[in-house]
Subunit: 508 residues, 2 copies
């Protein structure tokens, strides 16, 4: 059905393209279509195709079910910590891997806050998926598709997707289907606005590289405009007021980076306005609530020293130049960064699968979605079903990464036991269920200081420390965890040049 609609959209454009080249003797242009899948032009009519084995493969727009002689296909939705760790660990001798995601890279989220002010460069925290799993671009049956998944048909073992053509006005998005042998939903969560009016329109989240780019451009623009003749005192004060809502690790780390930037680089590069720029952190409860009390007090003291001001309050409304707290206080801002946690995405909400108590896709201890065959869910989009008797794990990179690694090993074991193909893993022994062991939390707070909390839970005993040594551990720990050698190298180089030359303030 949607293919026919799609054809009518593509045809008017393509039919008028006549490829007549002159001068073709010098270097011939031989266009060939070498890929495996069928194209829209070849697909005129389409059967409902509910049961994979009944599908007429020549009539399938997308990737048809795998056949004997082909490797079974694992489809991964998402390219975050969970999905990428899974793809890295999967045995591509056993499986073909198809990744569907709206971005072609993984973001190393713990270092994203550092890129907003130029301590690190954007590319140092972005890892292309094809570097994480090279088979994606080399194997004839493995693919990366820049697309969003719009629907899951678990009975037919297929997902419906729509391409992203952002930035191209010559091509409209189109839909296609992918049949899977195993499906891994790792599409993550989305930033929570708690239904507060104006957040979407006026605040910037801090979850993707483009968010960090937007923050950096806006911060530099505000710094320059506030130094221009003709601006009023109020406007200047407003433009240079940076407000962060949410006192979790992301909000605190961003505030710390920002105050570092102000104390070192603004003082030097924007000396005219250095006394007018301020940072306010708004949190409804306690900041860094998952950390040890001693660490929290230390963080508050250090951030206060750096000029970060804490306001305890609940945001009621966000307007384009100010936000309103629940007691009526008005807070004018020039830059508003919103990091108050995450909630289920529209795609996860749309899925007719059992959910955990917080609305995440319900899974068992083997990461399976029990109500359907061959579907797994990992990372922020999934949580333990109540029937498991376990509490859902927090939405942390650490959890997602561990789940991805576990599931890669599980799928490899299933594949080796000849259970890789659709509907063939029922008899296979799954082995040890997933157990999460918290390795500790870390957060940097600027000025070469950080918090390191190596306790397994808030009430457990263990090591927790602060200050320069923590900061050094924080840097070392992250440097070894940035995935590729290229990015490890770039992060080290970025830190070195920031230390020696200061941060880059080109607004590009």
């Amino acid at each position: 059905m949607f293919m026919i609609k799609n054809l009518t959209r593509i045809s008017p454009n393509t039919s008028s393209i006549i490829t007549r080249f002159r001068n073709s003797g010098s270097s011939s242009l031989s266009y060939t279509l070498a890929s495996r899948f069928c194209t829209a032009q070849e697909t005129q009519i389409q059967s409902p195709a509910k049961i994979p084995n009944d599908v007429d493969r020549s009539q399938y727009s997308g990737l048809p079910p795998t056949r004997e002689g082909e490797k079974p296909r694992v489809v991964v939705l998402g390219s975050g910590w969970a999905g990428c760790r899974l793809m890295k660990g999967i045995d591509t001798n056993l499986y073909d891997v198809v990744c569907v995601s709206p971005r072609n890279h993984m973001v190393f989220t713990p270092l994203l806050a550092s890129t907003c002010v130029g301590t690190l460069e954007f590319r140092s925290v972005a890892e292309p998926i094809s570097r994480i799993q090279p088979a994606i671009s080399r194997e004839p049956g493995s693919f990366f598709f820049l697309a969003n998944c719009s629907r899951l048909d678990a009975d037919a073992h297929e997902v419906h997707c729509e391409t992203l053509t952002d930035g191209l006005n010559t091509l409209k998005p189109w839909k296609f289907k992918i049949a899977y042998d195993k499906l891994v939903i790792a599409s993550g969560a989305e930033a929570s606005t708690f239904g507060i009016h104006g957040v979407m329109e006026n605040a910037i989240f801090l979850r993707e590289v483009h968010h960090a780019q937007e923050i950096r451009r806006k911060l530099l623009l505000n710094l320059m405009l506030s130094d221009t003749p003709g601006i009023s005192k109020e406007e200047k004060r407003r433009l240079l007021h940076c407000v962060v809502v949410g006192g979790g690790p992301t909000g605190v780390e961003f505030s710390g980076e920002l105050s570092d930037f102000i104390m070192k680089d603004v003082r030097q590069r924007y000396a005219h306005v250095k006394d007018d720029i301020h940072v306010t952190l708004i949190e409804a409860r306690d900041i860094l609530s998952s950390f040890d009390d001693r660490l929290r007090r230390y963080a508050i003291k250090q951030l206060n020293k750096s000029g970060v001001r804490f306001v305890r309050g609940i945001v009621k409304d966000v307007q384009s130049q100010k936000l309103i707290l629940d007691d009526g206080t008005e807070v004018p801002y020039g830059l508003l960064v919103w990091s108050t946690g995450v909630g289920p995405s529209p795609f996860v909400r749309s899925l007719g699968l059992p959910k955990d108590p917080t609305g995440r896709i319900g899974i068992d201890e083997w990461m399976r979605v029990p109500s359907v065959q061959d579907v797994f869910a990992i990372g922020d989009c999934s949580g333990y079903l109540e029937t498991t008797g376990k509490p859902t794990l927090p939405a942390l990179a650490q959890v997602a990464e561990r789940e991805g690694k576990y599931l890669a090993n599980l799928l490899n074991a299933i594949g080796k036991g000849n259970g890789g193909r659709a509907n063939s893993a029922k008899e296979i022994e799954l082995g040890v269920p997933f157990v999460y062991k918290h390795l500790g939390s870390m957060a940097t707070i600027g000025r070469y200081k950080a918090l390191v909390d190596l306790r397994e839970s808030k009430d457990a005993k263990g090591i927790s420390m602060t200050g320069f040594v923590s900061w050094f551990i924080w840097r070392s720990a992250y440097l070894t965890r940035v995935i590729s050698w290229r990015n490890r190298f770039y992060v080290a180089i970025n830190w070195f040049t920031t230390f020696v030359f200061g941060r880059d303030i080109s607004r590009i």
Copy 2:
């Protein structure tokens, strides 16, 4: 007049901002306005102010004329090669420097083509103005304003400017004036479209960092979309056809970089579509017409080997998916890069000053605009008046850089001779006029090969060479010319990582 209009725009926003903060005991927010200039709120009525010395300084929105005891003020319009080289060389003990430009950095244009495919990173070729001339951000009388100059009032010794608030929907652009003692117009030229329909809307130029970013994003998007199920053969062929119009050094270098990218990185990272991507270079006359014939033949041979196809033709019309040549040939494209040279910008065209035969601001051998006092013009926006008997110099970085250096020395000499202030340089001996000596041309053509032409002019004798040695000279020459140590370091690191790890394909 415009200030009153401006006030009505600012007031409705600012008057409603009430700054009531709670919890202010923890860290007080003391906002002060420390800058020198008067603000819009203080400026209610404004006199015409035609003669600087008659201006009531408290009534001046912007920077008023300098007084005794203050340093004379050099206002520089633009932040390209000419303006930045001038600012770098100016003696800030003699002058305050005010730069007005729509971008806060200089672009190292000869390396810009390399950033489009990730050989170099964007920030490696962008140099913040405050790093080129630190006084801009430190001295109380020196400023950088993110603004466009809209009008020159040479009699009143002032320029009218309008801020850029791109990306801020909460603030409208406003106007202000700057009085100058010396004015240097270095606002450059703009890309020529020769009036061809559709170029502005559909092609991408290659003059600014944001152009290179757009090219890189579009190229990666096209590569990914062309590998997605449901795309037709024609669409795939079109998306992967990269067309470059203009066979000058920029067009040729970009084609070379692109074919390098295709042969190394696309083959590895986009193996599914590697045989479908093609590059076509369209030029109406000869490519690299300023180079030696032997070098040109070598370049054509090498680029052909890399798969670049040459088409000799004149573009008649550009549509969103194809361009039409003058003989009616239709060329479908997925990416269109336009680099056919430059012409006078609207600002230069609007100036009521004498022009050179090509429409550039007419100057004498000392870079002065002879019809007015204290106004100089350098770089691509200026050219010799016919009365000088000299031909206008080509619009090259090399020329602009040399002119900037010359004028910095000239202004320093004038300043030392107490001629720095407005209308006070009439009696000063200007010394040796500017003489341009061409040091040669270089262009890279991909695959570790380049052309180096060290002859002074096309018909002169001298060294010209090709191949790997040239490429090595090209790299070395540019590395020593990238202005700051930070960027020299980054360019070297980028080249190293591209060589070792390949180019980065994250689409961020």
